[in-house]
C-alpha cells in the first residue's frame, strides 16, 4: 500500500512538473506536429520521431523526451484520420482502422468514426499508461537479476519474435531482416577488446553506423521514394456529422476497449512488435468475441474502436521494455531509446535504481500527450484536412532536406548523410521485397547487447553452454524462440502435429482399453 501511495505521489509530482508554460507549449506544438505527421500518408511515427529528435538536441533531456513522446502518441492517432477519410492508413498502425473507418465514412458517418477513433485512442493510451506505471517498476527491479546469459537470449528472442510477428506470411524474411540488423551493429569498434570490425581503416566507421541517420534513412528516405513512386492520393472531404466522441459508444463497447487495451499493451511489451500488430490482433480478438460479427468490415463501430484502442495502447507498452531493459518494444520506441541515450539518459535495468522518478515522468508525458490528442481530435478536424491537401511534390523534397540535415546535425559529419542515403536505398529495396523494417532496427539496437553478453557469458563459464539453456529465464526465452522457429516451418509443424495426434490417439486408446 505504501509503495502504491509512493508511486502515485511520484506520478502526481511528475504531472505537476510539466504544468509550466514552456512544457505546455512543447506539448501543444509537438502533439499537433505528431498528428500531422501521422495523418500525412507516407510519413510514419518512426520517421517523425527520428526527424524531430534532430530538433531536440538543444532542449533539456526531460523536455526533449516529452516532445518525442507527444509526436509518437500524436502520430499513431493522426493516422486514423487518413484511414477513415481516404481508406489509406496514415501510418502502418492504422491499417486495421481502414477496414471499418472508411465504410463508416462512406455511410456519411465520418465524424462519428473520428469520434470513435479519438475515444479509442485516448482510452487505449490511458490503459497502456496504467500498465507502464505499474509494470515498468516491477520489470525494472526484476531485470536487475538478469546476467549475460539472459541478455543474450533476450536479444535473440526479440529478433526472432519480432521477425515472426511482423512478417507472419513469411517469417524467414523477418528473421533475415533482424540478423541483417545484428550484422550492421557489428561494424565499428567492439566493446570487449576494442578491435575495429568491418571498418576498413575509415575513422568514420569506428563508432559503427550512427542509429539516427540509419533510421532516418530506412524510414524517412525509403518512404520518400515509396510515396513518389505510388500514384497520388485523392483529396479528403470534410465530415458532415459531429466528431465529438459519444459516451454511449464507449459504454457499449467497454469490454472491447479493455481487451484491446490489454492486448495492445502486451504486444507493445514484446520487443520490436509495433502498433500495427497491436491493432490487427485487437481487431481480430474483437471480431471473434463480438455479438455483431457480421458488421465487421462493413462499418463496425466495435471494430474501429478495437483497432484504435489497440494501436495506441502499444505506445506506452512499447516504452516499458525500452525503459527497463533498453530493448525497444516497437520501431518508434527504438528511435525514442536512441534519443534517450543522446540526451544522456541511461534506460535499462539500473534506471529504477538511479532515477526511479524518470519512469513516472514518462507516464506523465504520455498522460499529457493523450490529453492533447483528445483536445486536437475534437477541436481541429477541418484545419487538419487542409494539411492532407498538401501535394506530395511539395512536401517530399522538404522531408528529404530534413532527413539530410537531421542526419548531419548530430555530429556535423557529411558521412552521416551518406549513411542515411545508403540505409534509405537498402530500406526501400527490402520493403519492396516484403522484408519488415522493425526487426532490422531492433537488430541494430540489440547487436551490441548480444555481442558483449554472448562473449562475456562464454568467458564466465569457460565455454560451457549449459547456463545458457538451464537458467530459468533463459529456459523460457529459448523455448519460446525455438518454438516460434519450429512452428513456422511447415514440414516441421506438420510432423509435430502428426506426432501429437498419434500420441493423443494412443493415450486415449490406452485409457479406454483399461
Amino acid at each position: 500500500m505504501t509503495v502504491l501511495i509512493d508511486n502515485l505521489a511520484r506520478f502526481l509530482s511528475a504531472i505537476a512538473g510539466f504544468i509550466t508554460p514552456l512544457a505546455l507549449f512543447h506539448i501543444a506544438w509537438s502533439t499537433l506536429l505528431g498528428i500531422i505527421i501521422g495523418a500525412l500518408p507516407g510519413l510514419t511515427a518512426t520517421m517523425g520521431i527520428a526527424l524531430i529528435t534532430t530538433l531536440t538536441y538543444k532542449l533539456p533531456a526531460d523536455l526533449a523526451i516529452l516532445v518525442l513522446i507527444c509526436v509518437y502518441v500524436g502520430a499513431i492517432y493522426g493516422g486514423s484520420r487518413t484511414a477513415i477519410l481516404l481508406n489509406i492508413p496514415g501510418t502502418p498502425a492504422n491499417a486495421a482502422t481502414t477496414l471499418d473507418g472508411f465504410p463508416l465514412a462512406m455511410q456519411g458517418l465520418a465524424g462519428r468514426a473520428m469520434g470513435v477513433a479519438t475515444s479509442g485512442s485516448v482510452l487505449g493510451s490511458f490503459i497502456g499508461m496504467f500498465f507502464l506505471a505499474t509494470i515498468a517498476p516491477i520489470l525494472g527491479n526484476y531485470a536487475l537479476k538478469f546476467q549475460s546469459f539472459e541478455f543474450f537470449w533476450l536479444a535473440i528472442f526479440g529478433i526472432v519474435i519480432s521477425g515472426h510477428l511482423t512478417s507472419m506470411e513469411d517469417p524467414i524474411k523477418g528473421w533475415i531482416a533482424g540478423f541483417l540488423g545484428l550484422l550492421v551493429a557489428m561494424v565499428g569498434q567492439e566493446g570487449i577488446h576494442a578491435y575495429e570490425r568491418f571498418t576498413y581503416g575509415t575513422t568514420e566507421l569506428l563508432g559503427g553506423f550512427a542509429l539516427i541517420p540509419a533510421m532516418v534513412g530506412a524510414f524517412g528516405f525509403a518512404e520518400v521514394l515509396s510515396v513518389m513512386q505510388n500514384p497520388p492520393v485523392k483529396r479528403a472531404e470534410a465530415p458532415q456529422d459531429s466528431v465529438f466522441p459519444k459516451i454511449s459508444d464507449v459504454l457499449r463497447y467497454w469490454r472491447t476497449i479493455i481487451r484491446s487495451g490489454l492486448i495492445g499493451t502486451v504486444i507493445g511489451i514484446i520487443p520490436g512488435v509495433g502498433e500495427d500488430i497491436g491493432a490487427w490482433v485487437s481487431y481480430a480478438a474483437a471480431r471473434r468475441k463480438s455479438k455483431e460479427r457480421e458488421k465487421f468490415g462493413k462499418g463496425s463501430i466495435e471494430g474501429l474502436m478495437a483497432a484504435e484502442t489497440g494501436n495506441n495502447a502499444v505506445v506506452p507498452g512499447a516504452i516499458i521494455p525500452a525503459l527497463t531493459l533498453a530493448i525497444p518494444g516497437s520501431a518508434p520506441a527504438a528511435v525514442l531509446l536512441a534519443a534517450m541515450f543522446i540526451h544522456g539518459l541511461r534506460p535499462g535495468p539500473l534506471l529504477m535504481v538511479e532515477s526511479p522518478q524518470f519512469v513516472y515522468q514518462v507516464v506523465a508525458m504520455v498522460f499529457f500527450a493523450t490529453l492533447a490528442i483528445f483536445i486536437y481530435g475534437v477541436g481541429l478536424s477541418k484545419p487538419l484536412l487542409k494539411v492532407l491537401a498538401i501535394p506530395r511534390t511539395r512536401l517530399m523534397p522538404i522531408v528529404f532536406v530534413l532527413c539530410a540535415i537531421g542526419s548531419y546535425a548530430i555530429t556535423s559529419r557529411i558521412f552521416d548523410i551518406y549513411v542515411m542515403i545508403g540505409f534509405g536505398i537498402i530500406g526501400y529495396i527490402l520493403r519492396q521485397m516484403k522484408y519488415p523494417m522493425a526487426p532490422l532496427v531492433l537488430g541494430i539496437i540489440l547487436g551490441d547487447l548480444m555481442d558483449k553478453n554472448l562473449r562475456r557469458g562464454l568467458v564466465l563459464t569457460d565455454g560451457d553452454l549449459t547456463p545458457f539453456f538451464t537458467r530459468p529465464i533463459c529456459l523460457v526465452l529459448w523455448l519460446i524462440t525455438f518454438s516460434s522457429i519450429i512452428l513456422s516451418i511447415d514440414p516441421l509443424r506438420h510432423a509435430l502435429q502428426e506426432i501429437f495426434r498419434l500420441a493423443w490417439s494412443r493415450t486415449r486408446r490406452l485409457f479406454s482399453f483399461r
Binding site: I172, I176, H193, P231, T393, V401, I405, A409, I414, R455
Partner: protein, 166 residues
C-alpha cells in the same frame, strides 16, 4: 517474388560467406591472453552462419517455385522503365542522391537546398499541355517554396540549434 527471393538468397549467401571469411581472419589476440571465446570474430561468425542458413533456405525455396528462371529480356526491362511510377522513382532517386551526395558540400547549404527544392517541384509539377499562365504559376510557387523552406531550415539549424552547416 520468387525471382527476387532467388536473387536475395544468392546475395545473402555471398554476404554471409564474406562475413565468415572476415570473421575467420579477425585476430585471436593470443598475445593478450584473451579467452578464445571472447575473440572479436566469434559473434560476426555466428551471424554469418545464421544468414548463410537463411540464404540457402531462400534459394532452395525460390528454385522450387521457379524463381531461378530469371527470364531477363530487353523488352521486360524496357516495360519496367516506362511505368510512370518507376520513372517517378528514378527521378526522385537521382534528385535526392544528387542533392545529398554531391550538391551539399559543393554549394553553400542554403543555395543547394533551395536549388534542390525548386528543381524537384518544377520537374514533378511541370506537365505537357500546360498553358503559359499555369507554367508561370508552377515556377513562381516553386521559387517561393524553395526560398522560404531553405531560409527557414538554414536559420533554424544554424541560429537556433547552432549547427555548423555544410
Amino acid at each position: 517474388m520468387a525471382r527476387a527471393d532467388f536473387l536475395t538468397g544468392l546475395a545473402l549467401i555471398f554476404l554471409s560467406i564474406y562475413v565468415l571469411i572476415e570473421s575467420w581472419w579477425m585476430p585471436r589476440l593470443e598475445h593478450l591472453k584473451a579467452h578464445p571465446l571472447s575473440v572479436p570474430g566469434i559473434v560476426p561468425a555466428f551471424i554469418g552462419m545464421v544468414l548463410l542458413l537463411f540464404g540457402t533456405v531462400l534459394v532452395i525455396r525460390s528454385i522450387r517455385r521457379g524463381g531461378h528462371r530469371l527470364g531477363l529480356t530487353y523488352e521486360g526491362l524496357r516495360r519496367l522503365f516506362i511505368k510512370p511510377g518507376n520513372q517517378r522513382l528514378l527521378l526522385t532517386a537521382i534528385l535526392t542522391i544528387g542533392y545529398g551526395s554531391f550538391l551539399i558540400g559543393i554549394l553553400p547549404y542554403w543555395l543547394a537546398t533551395g536549388l534542390f527544392i525548386f528543381v524537384f517541384i518544377v520537374l514533378f509539377e511541370w506537365e505537357r499541355g500546360m498553358n503559359v499562365a499555369q507554367r508561370k504559376r508552377c515556377v513562381i510557387s516553386a521559387v517561393f517554396i524553395a526560398i522560404l523552406s531553405s531560409a527557414a531550415i538554414t536559420l533554424v539549424f544554424e541560429r537556433l540549434f547552432l549547427v555548423a552547416l555544410p
